[in-house]
Symmetry: C2
DNA sequence: TTGTATGCGTTATCAC
DNA sequence: GTGATAACGCATACAA
C-alpha cells in the first residue's frame, strides 16, 4: 500500500475539541454522559477531521465484533445470492454485520478450511453455514467453538441448529402432483447424498413416494447439469416414461433445453418438474412446475436463531422446518392417453 | 453474547510451549527467524490450543487490514452475484479479503451512507463500487480518501478508476442487429440516467443509433420492470412497430411474459432484445438475443486495478472498457413483410 | 461531568 | 535465536 495519511483517532479529535480522549470515546460510542455543549464541540471536531471509529481497536477492548460469518458455497447462484441478501438485511436490523466467506464456486477441502479460518481470524461471533455440500462432520468442530446454524439444508445433528425447508415434504408433494395427474412411469434425476445434502434427500423422497404409490420409477443419477443430454437419451430409451423430475430448477432448465433440441413437447410428450423457485427461470414465462422454498424466510430465521444463540437463549426449535409451496406451472399435464 | 471461553492468545501459546510471546508471533506470522526445534513446539502448542491469530490486533499494529470493501447495490440479482464471486476469488489470489456492504436491494441515501461508513470502520484499504444507481458525486468523497474503482458501469470522472463494458457499443450493436434484419419501427424501453448509469446510457445509445440510421423510434420510459404490461399496451397501440429493445435481460423477460399473455408471437409478430447475458434466462431455452457483458472479467479487472492502486502504481488505464459480445438468439427475426 | 490510567493481542525494535 | 518492551486506538473503572 502506498503511503497514505493516517486516519484520525479519538486523540486527534480530543485535541481538536480541547477535551480528553475519554470524552470523545463517550460521545462516539454513546455511552456515559457528557455535557451537551461539550458533545457539540466533539461532534463538530470529529466531522471536520473525518473521524470514523476503528472497528479493530474497538473489538480489541470490547471482545466483541458484532459480526457473524456466513460460509457460502457459491454466491453466484441465485439461491445463495438471495439467501445472502436476506441475511445481511436481517443481521443489520439486529445490529450485526455479515461477513461472507465464499469459495471458488467449488470448494476444495483446503479452500474450505482456509475460508473458515479467515472467519475465525476475524473473530466472527457466530457462523451461518450455507452449503449443500459440506458434511455435518466438518461443521461440528466449528460448532463446538462458535454458535452455528445451518441454513437452507436439512440437518439432524443435535448440536447444530438449523433452518430449512423440508426436503421430504417438497419431494413428496411433487411426486403426488404427478401421480395425481395420472403419471405412472416417471424418471427422477437423482443426486447422491454425498454430492448434496439438499438435492440428495429431495430426490430420494421423490423416488420413495412414487414407489410407495405404485409408480414405475426410472432413476437417473445426474450429479452435474452438463449431462442433461444423457438424461434425455436415457428417458427416451424407456417406453412408458411420461414425466421427469429434476432435483433443482437449474437441472430442470437444462433438461428443458435438451428436450427442446430434440423436439420433445413439454408437457405434451413429457411433464417436467423443478425445485427451488428462485430467480427468473420459474417465472410465468417458462412456467416450470416446482417446489418453492421460502428463501427469504430461511435467511431471516437463520439470523434470528444466531442472534438468540448469541444472547444465550435457546432458539425456539433446534431444527426449524419452514413450509414451502407447490407451484403448478405449465410444464406438467396429464400424460397422453 | 453469552459468556464464552476466551480465545487463546499468543501468550497462552507461549506459556504452553515454554517460550516468549515474541517467538510465537514470529512463527505464526512467518517473519523473523526461530530455531527449527522451537518452531515445532510452538506449532504443536498452537494447534492443541486451537489458536487463531486475531485479525483486529494484527490490524492495529500493522495499520493494514488486507481487506477491500465492495459496495454492492443488490447482491440478489444475478449480475451482482456473479460480479461479487469473481471479485472475491480474484482478491483472494492477491491476498486480500473482500467484505461486502450490500443493501436492501434498494438503498436509501441514509442506508448507503451507513454502509459506506461501516466499510470505513472496518478500515478497508480500498473500495469497489458496484451500483448503477449511486451517482459519481456521492462516490467522490470516498475516492478522495480511499483508492476507489467503479465496476460494471461507465464512469468518466478523472479521479475515479473504472472497469466496465462499453454501454455505447452494446446499445449500438443491438440496434444495428435489428436494423440489419430490416426493422424500421422499433420501440425502446428507456431508463432515465438518474435511475441507472448503466441502463440509461445503453438505452440512449440504442435510440441514438436507430435514429441515426433512419428508423422510427418509439421511446417508452420504463424504470420498473413491473410496468411491462403497460409497455406492451403502448407498443401495440402503435402501428408499424416490429421490435422492442429492453434495457436489461430481466426487463426483456418481463416483456416476453406479457407478450406471451397477450398471445403476441415472438419473434413472428415482434422481435425482442435484452442486455447483460447473465444467469439462466438467456440460455438456449429462451434464446434471448442480447448483449453479453464479460462479467467475470469485469470483476477480476476491477480487483486488479484496486490492487495496483494499493501498491501505489497507476492502473494501465483510468477507464477500462472491456469488450462485450452480441449474442443472437431466437427472439429476433426479420419483420413480417 | 471530565480526566487519568490500564489493558486488549499483536508486531516491531531493540537488547541480550 | 530469543526475550523484554513499546506502541497501535479504543473503552472503562476509577479518581477528581
Amino acid at each position: 500500500m502506498a503511503d497514505r495519511p493516517r486516519n484520525p483517532t479519538i486523540i486527534d479529535v480530543a485535541r481538536a475539541a480541547g477535551v480528553s480522549k475519554s470524552v470523545v470515546s463517550r460521545v462516539v460510542s454513546g455511552r456515559g454522559s457528557v455535557g451537551e455543549e461539550t458533545r457539540q464541540r466533539v461532534v463538530l471536531a470529529a466531522q471536520e477531521l473525518g473521524y470514523v471509529v476503528n472497528a479493530s481497536a474497538r473489538a480489541m477492548v470490547a471482545h466483541r465484533t458484532y459480526t457473524v460469518g456466513a460460509f457460502v458455497r457459491d454466491a453466484a447462484t441465485a439461491f445463495y445470492g438471495h439467501l445472502l441478501t436476506a441475511m445481511q438485511e436481517r443481521a443489520a436490523s439486529h445490529g450485526y454485520r455479515v461477513v461472507t466467506a465464499t469459495g471458488s464456486g467449488r470448494f476444495e477441502v483446503s479452500d474450505e478450511y482456509r475460508a473458515l479460518e479467515t472467519l475465525a481470524m476475524l473473530r466472527v461471533e457466530a457462523l451461518i453455514v450455507c452449503s449443500g455440500l459440506l458434511p455435518s462432520e466438518r461443521i461440528l468442530p466449528f460448532a463446538a467453538r462458535l454458535p452455528t446454524v445451518v441454513a437452507g439444508r436439512p440437518e439432524t445433528h443435535p448440536s447444530i441448529t438449523s433452518v430449512y425447508c423440508d426436503e421430504e415434504e417438497g419431494g413428496t408433494a411433487l411426486a403426488d402432483h404427478l401421480l395425481g395427474l395420472g403419471h405412472r412411469g416417471i424418471a427422477v434425476v437423482t443426486v447422491p447424498l454425498r454430492s448434496s445434502v439438499t438435492m440428495g434427500p429431495r430426490s430420494a423422497a421423490m423416488v420413495r413416494r412414487l414407489r410407495e404409490r405404485g409408480a414405475r420409477v426410472l432413476e437417473i443419477e445426474g450429479p452435474t447439469r452438463e449431462a442433461a443430454g444423457a438424461w434425455v437419451t436415457e428417458v427416451l430409451r424407456h417406453d412408458g416414461i411420461t414425466a421427469v423430475m429434476a432435483p433443482s430448477d437449474r437441472h430442470a432448465i437444462s433438461l428443458l433445453e435438451q428436450l427442446q433440441l430434440r423436439g420433445v413437447d413439454v408437457p405434451g410428450d413429457l411433464s417436467v418438474t423443478g425445485y427451488d423457485g428462485i430467480g427468473d427461470m420459474t417465472t410465468s414465462l417458462i412456467g416450470l412446475t416446482h417446489w418453492r422454498q421460502p428463501i427469504d424466510l430461511i435467511g431471516t430465521r437463520a439470523v434470528d436463531a444466531v442472534v438468540q444463540l448469541l444472547d444465550g437463549e435457546q432458539p425456539p426449535q433446534h431444527h426449524q422446518a419452514l413450509p414451502g409451496a407447490l407451484v403448478v406451472g405449465r410444464t406438467t399435464a396429464p400424460p397422453r392417453p
